[in-house]
Assembly symmetry: C2
DNA sequence: GAAAACTGTTCAGCCCATACGCTGTTTCTC
DNA sequence: GAGAAACAGCGTATGGGCTGAACAGTTTTC
């Protein structure tokens, strides 16, 4: 490809870089760093100390470079985050045949990714996915849904539901893992809350809390919700045929 | 209630204050501010300038007080955010009878709330809901699902799906509103992306982009996903009876 | 060899949350 | 009524973050 230097003036942050399009340099000293190196370091910090730890300062310090040197490689922190997100999430797995099996595997894979790197859940969603790995996830799921006979529009709708459910579930699991670590505190919360629930007219919540079902009932029951959603999609498929 | 001064030592941030439990003060000057006032000011900034704008500095400045005076009312920013979140989201509406109608109204109401105050989507979810309004939302939905004959556990599972879908959908709508404002940029993204999709082996994505269906197909189709989910739940209900 | 382009650096500005110590005010207790 | 205790808000200070501008050094091109 010759026109690799196309002007990326108004493209959203991270788009060009995530596809490996970098401004070709002709003169001047060789860069001491590379975008890949910077992104990898950012992921390292995310893995070890969470999303808040992936900052330009820290990455620069780790790489033995001044903070502002980062701006020779990345236009803004936002751009860096987009790159980190795409790289850290990685590509999707191969999906089994059969839309139901494929969807199940797809959701499981996403949940697993989030389990490996929970800090990815802290990255705010900027817009429609445009980076290579993100689009690959969409691609494989759409391919799997192609056999359902639904319209492109409906397939996309199903994908959005499944994706949202995966992310939502991963987020829930993460919360539970974080709060279940302190059963002492959970019990103290209950002692504070229950009288107020009774007095405030929260019968269902009271039952939940006194049944010990809360904080416990919302276990990592991925299959339950997934089955509901898949059943709902299946109803639609059967109706159309 | 006499024991209002129970020690709230180890309770999570915002729990006590959100339920109106404040340390009773006996001596010293009267506070110039109130927690309600602070929270209301925070919500004001959120409404006018987004979540990032709700900072202790700004609130303090607006109220004509030094930044650190805030810490006489709130233990940390986290605590403030919890209070702001609960107050800004507000209480749920009355739900119609019939679990399906109720769930539909519940999801719609949540989406509407997020449409009114999109910045609420930027608040990270800390843990299981414990504040009065949040719990009220759970309460009314559980009450509506009580007639399904499902177990408490299953009802909670359904609620989680619906809640996740509502939040996810609101988030999508917000993205679209933010990105659709610049059709010029969207077209430029397409020009950058399509050749790479073709070359990179993204047939479904290519079709989507060339069909103009992307950025457009994910419209605010709340009903589509909701119908799938409700159908899926209905399958479960019918199976159990 | 000179000019252009590009590197990383330092300096600087502005934002944020938070800790500490001070002064003045209010109220309880003796 | 006087002193002590408790509490308000303030100023100062620390540490972290993102980003812009000016600058000196390096490499390539003309």
């Amino acid at each position: 490809m010759e026109g690799m230097t196309e002007d990326r003036g108004e493209l959203p942050p991270g788009l060009a870089l995530s596809w490996g399009v970098q401004p070709v340099q002709r003169r001047g000293p060789k860069p001491a760093l590379s975008v890949e190196q910077i992104v990898a370091t950012g992921i390292g910090f995310g893995d070890s100390h969470g999303f808040e730890a992936v900052s330009l300062q820290r990455i620069a310090a780790r790489l033995g470079v001044s903070t502002n040197a980062m701006y020779r490689y990345v236009r803004s922190k936002d751009e860096l985050i987009v790159l980190v997100q795409d790289k850290a999430f990685g590509p999707p797995p191969e999906l089994p045949s059969g839309w139901r099996e494929a969807a199940t595997a797809w959701v499981h894979a996403q949940v697993d990714r989030y389990a490996e790197r929970p800090w990815l859940l802290d990255i705010p969603i900027r817009g429609a996915p445009v980076t290579p790995n993100q689009l690959r996830w969409v691609e494989v799921m759409l391919a799997a849904l192609d056999s359902t006979g639904l319209s492109q529009h409906d397939n996309l709708g199903c994908l959005v539901i499944l994706n949202g459910y995966a992310r939502n579930h991963a987020s829930l699991v993460r919360q539970l893992e974080a709060s279940d670590n302190t059963p002492v505190q959970a019990e103290q919360v209950g002692r504070f809350l229950v009288p107020r629930l009774i007095e405030g007219g929260y019968p269902m919540m009271t039952a939940l809390y006194t049944n010990q079902e809360y904080e416990d009932g919302v276990d990592d029951d991925l299959e339950f919700g997934l089955t509901r959603i898949l059943d709902g999609i299946e109803v639609l498929i059967n109706r159309k045929s």
